[in-house]
Amino acid sequence: MIQRIPLEDTSPASPGPGAEAWRRLRRHPVALACGLYILLLVLVALFAPALAPYPYDAMDTRGVLPAPPDAHHLLGRDNLGQDVFSRLLYGARVSLSVAAGVVAIEVVIGVTLGLIAGYYGGTTDLILMRLTDVMFAFPDILLAILLRAIVMSGSKAVSLGTNLATLFLALGLVGWPGIARLVRGQALALRQKEFIEAARAIGVRDRHILWRHMLPNLLSPIIVQVTQDVAGVILAEATLSFLGIGVPPPFPSWGRMINEARDFMRSQPLLLLSPSLALALTVMAFNFFGDALRDALDPRLRQ
C-alpha cells in the first residue's frame, strides 16, 4: 500500500533556469550581438529562396566572367555567371543544414552511449569509454578528411545521396566522443541522487529512468556543448568543401566558393572576400555565443 503524501513546493519562488540564464546573457553585449547574428543567419537559411534574387545555380553569362557588381548583381557574378549574393545566402542554408544534421548524429550517438556508460558503470562503462578514447584521440577533422578522401576516391561516381550521407557520417563521427564524455560524467553524478534511487526503488524500468528522469536534467550541458560544436562543424564542412571533398556541386558552400575564388583573386577580390567574411563571422559568432551560453548556464558558476 503506497501512502500518498501531498507535495508542496516550500522553496521560495525563484525564476526558472531559463530566465536566470537569460538574465546573465543580457549583460553580455557581444554575446547578444552574436545571438542576433545567429538568429539572422537562421532566418536567411530558412527563407533563402524568397530572399535570394536568383536561384543558386542560375547562370547569367553576359559579358566577361567573373563579373564585378552591377545593377542586377549586388556582389557580382562568379566564373560560371552565377549570382554571388544569392549563392552566399543559399550558402548559409547549406552550412546550417549540415551543422544541424551532423549535430543530430553527434547527439544521438553521444547521449545514448554516454547515458548507458554513466548509468550502468562497470564493464559497460569501461568498454564504451575505451571506444570514446580511441575516437577522441583524433584531432579536429582529420578523421573526416581521411574518411571522405577514401570514399571519394572510389572509381565509380557516388550517387548524390550516398555522397551526402557519408559526408554527414564522417563529420558526425568526429564530434560524438565529446558529448559522450560529458553526458557520462553528468550521468555518473546523477545516478547517486535520491530521486533516481527512489525511482529505482519503486521499480521504474531502466529505460524510463534514463530518458524521463536523467535526460531532462542533462539538457543544459548538452545544449552548451552542442552550441560550441556547431562552430566546429561549420568550419569542418567549409574546410572539406574547400578541399573538394565536402558538399557536392551544385549546392553552394562557402568553403568551395573560397576555393574557386582563388583563381580570380587579382581581377575579382570580392569573389573571395564575401564568402570569407561570411564564414569567419559565422564561426566567430557561434564560438562567442557558445562561450557566453556556457557561462550563463554552467551550474558550477551559478551559486
Binding site: 575505451r130 578514447d133 580511441v134 584521440a137 583524433f138 584531432p139 579536429d140 577533422i141 582529420l142 578528411i145 581521411l146 574518411l147 578522401a149 577514401i150 570514399v151 571519394m152 576516391s153 572510389g154 572509381s155 565509380k156 557516388v158 550516398t162 562552430a231 568550419l235 567549409a238 574546410t239 574547400f242 578541399l243 573538394g244 571533398i245 568553403g255 573560397i258 576555393n259 575564388a261 582563388r262 583573386m265 587579382r266 577580390p269 573571395l272 570569407s276 564564414l279 569567419a280 564561426v283 566567430m284 564560438n287 562567442f288
Partner: protein, 312 residues
C-alpha cells in the same frame, strides 16, 4: 615510471589497430573495384581473376586486413599506387613526408616563439593595454579558419604588395605565408594557455613568499614561475600537433606544396586509393606517436602524473 610508459603503450596499440581497421574498411566500402580499374573494361574474366589472386583480393576480408597490417609492420609495405605506374606508396611517403615535416616544424616553431612570449607578457601585464590587445587578437585568430586566413594573406602580401610568392616550394621565402597560415591558430592557443597558466602560478603562495623575501619580481618569475607555468602548456603542444597535421592538408593544397596533404588530396581525383589509404594511416600513426611522446614527456617532467597512474 616504467609502468606508466608501458600503460600508455598498451593503450596506443589497440588505438592504432582500430584506426587501421577503420581506414581499411572505409577503403573497401568505397564503391570501386581496383582490379576492374587496372584490367580495363575489355579484360577477360580470367585476367580479372588472376589479378585478383595476385593482389590477394580473393581472400576473406579479415585475411586481407591481416596481410595489409603485416606488410606494413614487417616490410614497411603500404601497397602500390594505381595511378603512378605501380610506384610503391612507401616511396611516395618517403618523398613527401620531409616536406610536410619541415612545414609542420617551422609552423610549430613560429607558434611557440610567438605564443609563449605573448602569453607571458599578457600575464605579467594582466589587464593592461598589452594584455587586452593581445587577447583580442588571440580571440580573432582562434576563430578565423585557415581557409580564410591563407587566401587573405596571399591577397594582401602576394597580389597587392607583391612581396611574397603566391604559391610553390622553392626557396625559404616560399615558407613564410604557409608557416604563418598554419601556425597562427596554434600561436593564439598557446598564448592564451600560457597566459592563464602563468596567471594561476602568479597567485600561488610560494611566489608571494619569494617576492616577500626580497627576490625581484622578474627574478621570481624567471626562476620559479615560468617553469611551473610551462608544464600544462606542454600538454596542448600535442593537441596542436593535431591541428598542424589537419592544417597541412589545407595549407599544402592552398600553396601547392608537394607534401602528404597535397598528394592525398590530388590522389582523390586520380582515384588512387592505395595512396590515400597509406597516407591516411601514416598521418594517424604520426599523430598517435607524437601524443604518446608528449604524454610520456609530461610524466617525466611532472612526477605526480606518472605516480598517480602507476597506482591506479
Amino acid at each position: 615510471m616504467l609502468t606508466f610508459i608501458l600503460k600508455r603503450l598498451a593503450l596506443a596499440i589497440p588505438t592504432l589497430l582500430a584506426i587501421s581497421l577503420v581506414v581499411f574498411i572505409a577503403a573497401r566500402l568505397a564503391p570501386s573495384d581496383p582490379i576492374e580499374l587496372m584490367a580495363g573494361e575489355k579484360a577477360s574474366p580470367e585476367t580479372v581473376a588472376r589479378l585478383r589472386r595476385q593482389y590477394g583480393l580473393d581472400k576473406p576480408l579479415l585475411v586481407q586486413y591481416g596481410n595489409y597490417v603485416w606488410g606494413i609492420v614487417a616490410h614497411g609495405d603500404f601497397g602500390r599506387s594505381f595511378a603512378r605506374g605501380g610506384q610503391p606508396v612507401s616511396q611516395m611517403i618517403a618523398q613527401d613526408f620531409p616536406v610536410t615535416a619541415q612545414l609542420a616544424v617551422t609552423a610549430m616553431l613560429f607558434a611557440v616563439l610567438l605564443g609563449l612570449p605573448v602569453g607571458v607578457l599578457a600575464a605579467l601585464y594582466h589587464n593592461a593595454w598589452f594584455d587586452r590587445a593581445a587577447m583580442a587578437v588571440v580571440v580573432a585568430l582562434v576563430s578565423v579558419p585557415s581557409i580564410v586566413l591563407g587566401p587573405l594573406l596571399v591577397l594582401a602580401f602576394s597580389i597587392r604588395l607583391g612581396w611574397l610568392p603566391v604559391s610553390g616550394w622553392e626557396s625559404p621565402i616560399y615558407l613564410i605565408l604557409p608557416t604563418v597560415t598554419l601556425g597562427a591558430r596554434s600561436a593564439a592557443l598557446i598564448a592564451r594557455f600560457m597566459r592563464s597558466s602563468l596567471l594561476d602560478v602568479l597567485r600561488q603562495d610560494y611566489l608571494r613568499t619569494a617576492i616577500a623575501k626580497g627576490l625581484s619580481r622578474w627574478r621570481a618569475v624567471w626562476r620559479h614561475a615560468l617553469k611551473n607555468a610551462f608544464l600544462p602548456v606542454l600538454t596542448i603542444l600535442g593537441t596542436n600537433f593535431g591541428i598542424l597535421l589537419t592544417g597541412s592538408f589545407v595549407v599544402e593544397t592552398l600553396f601547392q606544396i608537394p607534401g602528404i596533404g597535397y598528394e592525398s588530396i590530388n590522389s582523390i581525383s586520380k582515384r588512387d586509393y592505395p595512396v590515400i589509404q597509406g597516407m591516411a594511416l601514416l598521418v594517424a600513426i604520426l599523430f598517435l606517436v607524437v601524443n604518446l611522446i608528449v604524454d610520456i614527456l609530461y610524466g617525466l617532467v611532472d612526477p605526480r602524473v606518472s605516480a598517480q597512474e602507476g597506482q591506479a
